[in-house]
């Protein structure tokens, strides 16, 4: 519900009460206490009941939360303010956990990316070193990045010749 709709509704409600309140002044307070209650005890009980009805039943001000919001597998279960707080706490905890999980995931990915880059840098450096070694006619390693460079062994698993064949197929 939009805020302005809320305010219009409650302003109308308040205006209605203002309209109704003068009606109370017009009311013929026809009977005194004795007409409604025979004695002081009955009147006191009526007063206490009116206060309890208005405060307890009426305005929902008991802070007991909502009626049937809590799913109950059994007919009764934990509820009330403690349960409501616990429910809100649980929801907050879940959100915090979700946030922490996302942060952890992001950190893990960043770490992986950093590792990959470091490996790539190391590989590049090794490649450069290997290239220099080849040019100088020194021995070659049976495995390693240099095997996948153009001019590598065609029988080796990652050779460019085989990749080219696969691409053609």
């Amino acid at each position: 519900m939009k805020p302005w709709v809320w305010w219009v509704l409650w302003t109308a409600f308040a205006f209605g009460i203002v309209l109704l309140v003068p009606a109370v002044a017009l009311a013929d307070n026809c009977s005194g206490l004795l007409d409604c209650f025979e004695n002081i005890r009955a009147a006191s009980a009526g007063a206490a009941a009116a206060g309890a009805a208005a405060g307890g039943l009426g305005a929902g001000g008991l802070g007991l939360g909502r009626g049937s919001n809590v799913p109950r597998d059994a007919p009764t279960g934990p509820s009330g303010p403690e349960h409501e707080r616990a429910r809100q706490e649980e929801q907050r905890r879940r959100m915090e956990e979700e946030y922490a999980r996302q942060q952890e995931e992001a950190a893990r990915r960043a770490q992986q990316e950093a590792q990959r880059r470091a490996q790539q840098t190391a590989a590049d450096a090794q490649e450069q070193t290997r290239g220099i070694t080849d040019l100088t006619g020194r021995g070659r390693s049976p495995t390693g990045p240099m095997d996948q460079t153009p001019g590598g062994d065609a029988d080796s698993p990652g050779s460019n010749v085989e990749r080219d064949d696969q691409t053609k197929r």
């Binding site: 005194g32 009980a45 206060g51 799913p71």
Partner: protein
């Protein structure tokens, strides 16, 4: 809840899904307690067709009630049968109780004033004033009936849920213990409502410049034990039946599914913060209207509005109750606090009424009611506001 389960109840019993999930979802922003009342009927899904058609049947009954029970033609407190019917229906199924109330209000509003004998002094008032007085008094009477049909069963249920019956009672006796506790809570609340109605229903007459009739007051003042008995029996039957279907019904899974969906909706609603004005204004307006039967002059209404505003602000924002007090009272079960509040309210009201009995006005009763109200606000501190931002709640949806 996974998506597959979520759709299970909607496809298996679409009408029950409508009353228990879809309609409450729509009502939540406007009338959360009414939404809860509709969701309360979900347990009857255990029987095929009951959850779907019981509210419709209750609506039809509410529409026909005027013809069946002509005694309710002026005000419903004239008919003990009507009040017993609405108490039993509301306790057994919140959705059926709400629809019975709705049907009754529709017909009552349509027939308002017809066949009534208004006093000459009332008829001499301008039409607009007569209209305001007539429909204003009816609004008060419907709010009071709403307490019985909507709020009473939910509050009783909530209070009972706080008592950890399982810790003190053997497994086999637990359903009976719960039934007894729920019955006692409903009986207590119906008694309170009956005693309060002696005065609070007066605007239906006094706003029309008339005198309350004995016929309208007697059923709640003298025959309240019948209403209490009906409430106790209906509450006991509800808990025992609910316990039975939860353990034996083949459709118990559907009931759980509906409740889970409702719970998911409600958690999001609870998480939405509302301004203090938005919380206090409805409370003040409602209590000011509900206590209208105790007013001697418009100054009393003003007094109630000011006092309740102060109490509500104190309870929620300005000068919040000390944390140690709130923590201490919350350790006591709500039903015990309710009884303590009632006894303390009676004691305070008794002192007030004794001192001012000679005035023969309702002012001492009004002051006693306000003192009781203050005791209740003291014993039931408002829960902390949610720490979940609304945006997060919506995202979670």
């Amino acid at each position: 809840m996974d998506v597959a389960n979520k759709g299970a109840s909607a496809s298996a019993d679409p009408l029950a899904h409508f009353w228990s999930v879809r309609l409450p979802r729509r009502l939540d922003p406007w009338a959360p307690h009414l939404a809860d009342a509709f969701a309360d009927g979900s347990w009857t899904t255990a029987w095929r067709g009951v959850a779907g058609f019981a509210p419709i049947g209750a609506l039809a009954l509410g529409l026909l009630l005027m013809r069946i029970l002509p005694a309710t033609r002026h005000v419903y407190t004239e008919s003990l049968t009507f009040m017993a019917l609405i108490i039993a229906t509301a306790i057994l199924s919140g959705a059926a109780g709400a629809m019975l109330l709705f049907g009754f209000i529709v017909v009552d509003l349509l027939g308002a004033g017809s066949g009534w004998n208004f006093r000459g002094v009332f008829l001499s008032l301008p039409l607009i004033v007569r209209w305001i007085l007539l429909y204003g008094s009816l609004l008060v009477s419907y709010l009071l009936l709403g307490l019985l049909a909507i709020r009473m069963p939910l509050l009783a249920r909530r209070m009972v849920e706080e008592v950890e019956v399982d810790r003190f009672v053997y497994t086999a006796a637990r359903p009976v213990a719960r039934a007894a506790l729920f019955g006692a809570s409903c009986g207590l609340l119906v008694w309170i409502w009956s005693q309060a109605m002696i005065m609070l229903i007066r605007p239906v007459f006094t706003w029309l410049l008339d005198h309350p009739t004995t016929r309208a007051i007697q059923p709640v003042q003298l025959n309240w034990e019948w209403l209490v008995a009906v409430a106790v029996l209906a509450a006991g039957a509800r808990i025992l039946l609910e316990d039975r279907v939860a353990s034996r019904s083949a459709r118990a899974g559907l009931v759980r599914d509906l409740r889970q969906q409702r719970s998911n909706d409600a958690v999001l609603i609870v998480g939405r913060p509302r301004s203090i004005v938005g919380q206090v204004l409805p409370q003040v307006g409602l209590i000011t209207l509900l206590l209208a039967g105790t007013y001697t002059s418009w100054l009393d209404a003003l007094l109630v509005a000011v006092v309740v505003t102060g109490l509500a602000l104190w309870q929620r924002g300005i000068g919040r109750l000390p944390g140690w007090w709130a923590a201490a009272v919350r350790r006591v079960p709500a039903i015990a606090r309710f009884v303590v509040g009632l006894v303390a309210g009676y004691w305070l009201a008794n002192m007030m009424v004794q001192r001012l009995w000679g005035t023969e006005t309702f002012r001492p009763v009004l002051l006693g009611a306000l003192l009781t109200l203050a005791v209740f606000l003291l014993l039931f501190p408002h829960p902390e506001r949610s720490t979940v931002p609304a945006s997060q709640g919506r995202e979670a949806a």
